[in-house]
């Protein structure tokens, strides 16, 4: 198992080369094909870039902080070397004409994208079972789901194919698969990382983050990706600076509504163990109440489908993406293209969005949800007046079985109950490995902080990290 710094040091010292590291990542990807974590490998381009970086190192040029480090991007990041499919038939053959800003920034530091990871089509889902190309299997048990929507990215990190992978998180899509596969997952403050060149889902909560094996690697990747981008006007001026060590005595609130009987007992047990570690490290942990938690999922499944119905209107078969054959009218072209290009969950969300935005329902659903969102944000602000961070499980259960929740969308949505509240409020939230169930399935703990407290949250997790 290699951390980012191990790889960088091996290459810089001449013990290894970028080419050798990329070849190893590609071999590891092939050896783990049965997990179906990847939709494509970008081998040719990756090896070319590796040779370029090796040549620059031989000539003594200054190379970046990630020189020769292979990584994998979720397949909703526009990247060269393979199609960007968003795991959909709609974009199955879409060759991106440009790269996402996040990918560009990593490449400028010498990182090498070696493949594209599986996801729920258009990132709609919590298990990666909504991929048009078949589900990804959990890294710890192939009968279990990978989580989602960034399931493939979590699994390739857990399986040591690469030291880090990119994901997107709109309501838990990084944190929940990180929890299910025992890796670190970072969803930053809304606006931290540019979303330019990433397939849009719900613009008011979409964020970009990463999966890593430890906190230090996450800090490095987030440090590189964060910052303002003229191509994404929602980005914040760069505020992310990793913190070496945090003072003991941080005040942490454990959200009592997240530890009820509705949460699996084994999950709660691991959270309690993590709380003990925090206390042993000199922090204080107290029970707090976030009564708005019970309404957050309802808000989310109004606001997000509304934004999805708008964002996905662009897939009309005209300028790019799939176009239906043998149609006689324009309306038929739109209708058939979208029926063929989207999976059922995409259609559900688009239609719910159309419903909550239609006249007569707009005030009762959409407007009410946005007002409730204000109440949720206010209740977080009240807690953050006293507490440095809030703690809860990431998900009510460890990874569930493949097929277990696919027949009941509401049941599937309930897996997001802990992760959607910080998304609606734009707060940073990280998923950190906390332990495992008796069956050996990983359990993650979620730490949530105030806006722009990302580095402090990571430092808090680092203060109790096992080396």
């Amino acid at each position: 198992m290699s951390r980012i710094s191990d790889i960088v040091n091996r290459i810089k010292s001449g013990e290894s080369t970028a080419r050798r590291e990329v070849e190893q990542a590609l071999a590891q990807a092939k050896a783990n094909e049965q997990y179906h974590a990847l939709l494509s490998l970008t081998a040719e381009r990756a090896l070319e870039r590796a040779d370029e970086i090796d040549a620059r190192i031989r000539q003594g040029e200054v190379v970046g902080r990630l020189a020769g480090v292979p990584f994998i991007a979720k397949d909703n990041f526009l990247a060269f070397g393979a199609p960007t499919t968003a795991a959909s038939r709609m974009l199955e053959k879409f060759d991106a004409p440009l790269q996402a800003t996040a990918v560009e920034k990593l490449e400028q530091e010498g990182a090498i994208c070696v493949g594209k990871a599986n996801l729920d089509a258009f990132a709609h889902g919590g298990s990666t079972e909504n991929s048009a190309f078949g589900p990804t299997k959990n890294a710890y048990d192939q009968t279990k789901v990978a989580g989602g929507s960034s399931g493939g990215s979590a699994v390739v990190t857990a399986l040591d194919v690469v030291p880090f992978a990119l994901g997107t998180d709109t309501g838990g899509s990084i944190r929940q698969p990180a929890s299910f596969n025992g890796v670190v997952g970072v969803k930053p403050t809304y606006g931290t990382v540019s979303r330019y060149g990433v397939v849009a889902m719900a613009s008011s909560t979409d964020t970009i983050g990463c999966f890593t094996k430890d906190i230090e690697d996450a800090e490095l990747v987030m440090d590189i990706m964060s910052g303002r981008d003229v191509n994404d006007m929602t980005t914040l001026p760069d505020f992310f600076t990793p913190i070496d060590a945090l003072q003991p005595g941080q005040k942490i609130g454990i959200i009592k509504e997240s530890m009820t009987d509705a949460v699996d007992e084994e999950v709660r047990h691991q959270i309690v163990n993590y709380i003990d570690k925090l206390k042993a490290a000199g922090h204080t942990v107290e029970e707090v109440s976030l009564p708005m938690l019970q309404y957050a999922l309802a808000m989310y499944y109004i606001i997000v489908p509304a934004e999805i119905s708008s964002n996905l209107a662009r897939y009309d078969g005209i300028r790019y993406g799939h176009r239906a054959d043998n149609v006689s009218t324009l309306a038929e072209l739109y209708g058939r293209t979208r029926d063929e290009g989207f999976v059922t969950e995409n259609k559900r969300r688009i239609m719910i969005g159309s419903y909550v935005l239609s006249s007569g329902y707009f005030d009762a659903y959409y407007q009410q949800a946005q007002k409730a969102r204000t109440l949720l944000i206010q209740s977080y602000e009240t807690l953050f007046a006293t507490y440095d961070a809030l703690l809860s499980p990431v998900a009510p259960t460890a990874a569930f079985s493949l097929g277990e929740n696919t027949e009941d969308p509401v049941k599937m949505y309930l897996a997001d109950i802990m992760t959607v509240p910080p998304s609606l409020a734009g707060l940073p939230a990280i998923s950190v490995p906390a332990g495992a169930t008796a069956a050996g399935l990983p359990v993650g703990v979620q730490l949530v902080g105030q806006r722009r407290s990302d580095a402090r949250l990571l430092a808090l997790a680092k203060s109790v990290e096992e080396k």
Partner: protein
Amino acid sequence: MTVISRNDVQHLAQLSSLQLTDEELDSLQADIGNILGYIEQLGELDTTGIEPTYQVTGLENVSREDTVIHSQVTREQMLALSTESANHQVKVPKVL
């Protein structure tokens, strides 16, 4: 509990430019009814006098220099993404 009729589902599909099969309409009718049943609980909350939150950046009126930024992407590359193009234009079925 919201009852969504088959006509409602057909109307939503039309609003969403989705031409669905009969089977899809059946299963989506049930799913959408269940989802709306879940999200309706939000009606319990008293939000009198509360302002809605549409975005959470705290940013307002972000602007940049009014200068042309030349795209790295060419017209040919963009046209190549379309299923059908001719004479530097995207081709679509007859509209009228």
